[in-house]
């Protein structure tokens, strides 16, 4: 059964607005809005326009190649795929418990990834909207405008990202296409000198992260009424939690809640995810729609990512971030707990949490240990789950006796959020576009709603001239009335 505004009753009588691709998100996306003769919104859909086919691509490849191959899924978070694949293959090589050195080196790599990804998104993608306004001059509403008006913020954003990249380079061996994580552990440790170099910069990184949380908290308070209501709806949530209920980016059990906050399952074994999460296919989208089996497709969709993790964990294990989590939960009586724009706030709390976690780990001598690999009883199936910057990431592989991959299922964070993003877009369209003359500023409201989720729609080809931005206005006959295009 379609959701409200998913399918128009009489699309043949509607005018069609296309925003393609959505700007300042990863990869290619397209939003179509059908308007009737009175400019009333009748249908809104977020489409994914490129089919990835990666699960087929890796079939037949030797399993040990997978942690390196899957990094080509995404130019922004290759480390998340690298580690999720490694975790799945840990099960296959019988390494259910890694050595302390291997686990801590992987955790450090992952925290570097969280830090750099969150910094990029907030400082360079989201903050122009938040600082200048959703309908500000688009020539100003970008990183150039940000750097001109707030050079200090832009500079810190660049340096925070650079710091996270340095952690990745040192733990993965290379800045891109790293090979540090392998089935059963890691293949390199950190020298004491490398730890000293990283430790020299971490206090500044933490201080800047504290400032970033403060900035988004202040902006949220200044715009509380508008931001709490922007695209607002209630939904379920899904995330990993540690055995004691703390947020854990790297490992743990699955916790799912429904739209009323009730627990659907808790500390569920990731190896059995397929018994709790199913995916629905819809004819109008290449991206599937996951849902909690216990609640069904209509009520079982959910959100993942910073809002799910910070809002639904029991606590954060680092002091500064935990204080900020409490402030977030108490803000306006909990009014931000379901607000899409609160993703930005939670993202910065997580950046601070990651920075504090990095400082803790850098003081641990296990990072320089030499016991890096374990092996055990071989299995033919393995599932790896972690919390990528954008949310829960599931890698599931099956191999044959010849050690070739014969089956793969990947549920990426953005796929989990598919229905949630569509819901946000529909609510914003109804609130800001319904019955009104369309302007660039109004259309940007749609993009602001999508951008809050930091979706990775499909990082792939980006060669010169291959990523045009297109906005089309199409009448009921399918004729293009107006078109705007520029190269990315």
């Amino acid at each position: 059964m379609p959701f409200p505004l998913e399918t128009a009753a009489h699309p043949e009588n509607s005018r069609r607005v296309v925003i393609e691709p959505v700007s300042r998100v990863e990869g290619h996306g397209k939003v179509t809005i059908l308007l009737d003769e009175g400019n009333r919104v009748r249908e809104v859909r977020l489409h994914i326009v490129e089919f990835r086919g990666f699960e087929k691509f890796i079939q037949g490849r030797p399993y040990w190649e997978v942690p390196v191959l899957v990094q080509r899924l995404c130019g922004i978070c290759p480390v998340s795929h690298h580690l999720a694949a490694s975790k799945a293959l840990d099960i296959i090589v019988g390494a259910r418990r890694l050595t302390p050195s291997a686990q801590k080196l992987r955790r450090l790599m992952h925290l570097g990834q969280i830090l750099q990804s969150h910094a990029l998104h907030f400082f360079h993608l989201a903050s122009p909207d938040l600082l200048f306004g959703f309908d500000a001059d688009p020539a100003r509403r970008n990183i150039a405008g940000l750097a001109a008006a707030h050079p200090d913020i832009a500079r810190k954003g660049v340096l925070l990202r650079k710091y996270g990249q340095e952690i990745i380079r040192m733990t993965a061996g290379k800045r891109v296409h790293g090979t540090g994580s392998v089935p059963g552990g890691v293949n390199r440790n950190l020298s004491r000198e490398e730890r000293r170099q990283l430790a020299a910069g971490i206090d500044e990184v933490i201080a800047w992260s504290v400032e970033a949380v403060g900035m988004v908290k202040r902006l949220f308070a200044e715009n509380a009424r508008a931001w709490e209501g922007f695209g607002h709806y209630r939904s379920g949530f899904l995330s990993l939690v540690r055995a004691d209920g703390a947020l854990d980016f790297y490992d743990g059990g699955l916790r799912a809640s429904d739209a009323g906050g009730g627990i659907v399952f808790d500390h569920a074994d990731c190896q059995d995810y397929h018994e709790r999460i199913h995916e629905e296919v819809k004819p109008w989208s290449y991206m599937k729609f996951p849902f909690l089996v216990a609640l069904g497709a209509q009520d079982g969709w959910y959100r993942v990512g910073p809002l799910a993790r910070v809002g639904r964990c029991d606590f954060l294990s680092t002091p500064l971030a935990e204080a900020e989590r409490l402030a977030f939960k108490e803000f306006d009586g909990g009014a931000a707990l379901h607000a899409p724009l609160a993703y930005h706030w939670c993202r910065m709390i997580e950046m601070l949490h990651a920075a504090e976690g990095i400082r803790e780990l850098l003081g641990d001598d296990d990072l320089s240990g030499t016991d890096l690999l374990v092996r055990g009883t071989r299995a033919l199936r393995g599932v790896g789950v972690l919390e990528a910057p954008r949310g829960t990431l599931i890698h599931h592989y099956r191999i044959n006796e010849d050690e070739q991959v014969v089956g793969a299922n990947l549920i990426v964070s953005t796929t989990h959020n598919n229905q949630a993003m569509n819901e946000a877009v529909r609510r914003v369209a109804m609130r800001y576009l319904d019955g009104r003359k369309l302007t660039e500023g109004l259309l940007n409201h749609i993009e602001v709603a999508i951008r809050a989720f930091d979706p990775c729609l499909s990082c792939a080809t980006h060669a010169l001239g291959k990523m045009p931005l297109m906005a089309e206005l199409v009448d009921a006959d399918g004729s293009v009335i107006d078109r705007l295009a520029k190269d990315g």
Binding site: R72, G75, N142, A147, T461, A463, L464, K486, G488
Partner: protein, 151 residues
């Protein structure tokens, strides 16, 4: 001071690999070419804001990317920093990166050029097309001349 050659693209997407492929070729050739002087080679999936910091301390920069619409075998363009940012900072243009360098580092960026290598196919998992492979050879030869010459 060093010359920086920065090629970007996704090696898993056919001709999108042209930028990284050129960097790989220069890396192999560099030991036999002392006349190139100090050379820094850099590759990544795509241009990112933090790459502005990689330009620090460079005498000149050659950006290299696959180009779907540039003439074969390649085209060279002198870059000026530009406030004309694209619609996504996940695929920043080199000109925008130069502008960001000025704002973040507080000084003028080094002189820079964009070498666009004509590309034809971007299929997932595909190797370089025959056309792209031919164009790569011509581009590698040109990049060697560029490194040998003083601008």
């Amino acid at each position: 001071m060093a010359s920086l050659v920065f090629g970007w693209g996704n090696p898993g997407r056919g001709d999108d690999a042209l930028g990284p492929a050129l960097i790989g070729r220069l890396d192999a050739l560099a030991p036999a070419h002392p006349e190139w002087g100090e050379v820094r080679l850099l590759t990544d999936f795509q241009l990112q804001p933090e790459h502005a910091l990689d330009l620090e301390g460079c005498e000149r920069v050659l950006f290299v990317d696959a180009g779907a619409s540039c003439p074969a075998p390649f085209a060279l363009e002198r870059l000026a920093s530009s406030r004309e940012f694209g619609y996504t900072t996940h695929a920043m243009s080199p000109a925008a990166l130069l502008a960001l360098f000025r704002q973040v580092c507080g000084c003028e960026p080094p002189p820079a050029w964009l070498l666009g290598i004509h590309a034809a196919s971007f299929e997932l998992g595909a190797p370089l097309s025959e056309t792209a492979s031919r164009n790569l050879e011509a581009a590698v030869a040109f990049a060697g001349e560029w490194l040998s010459a003083r601008h």
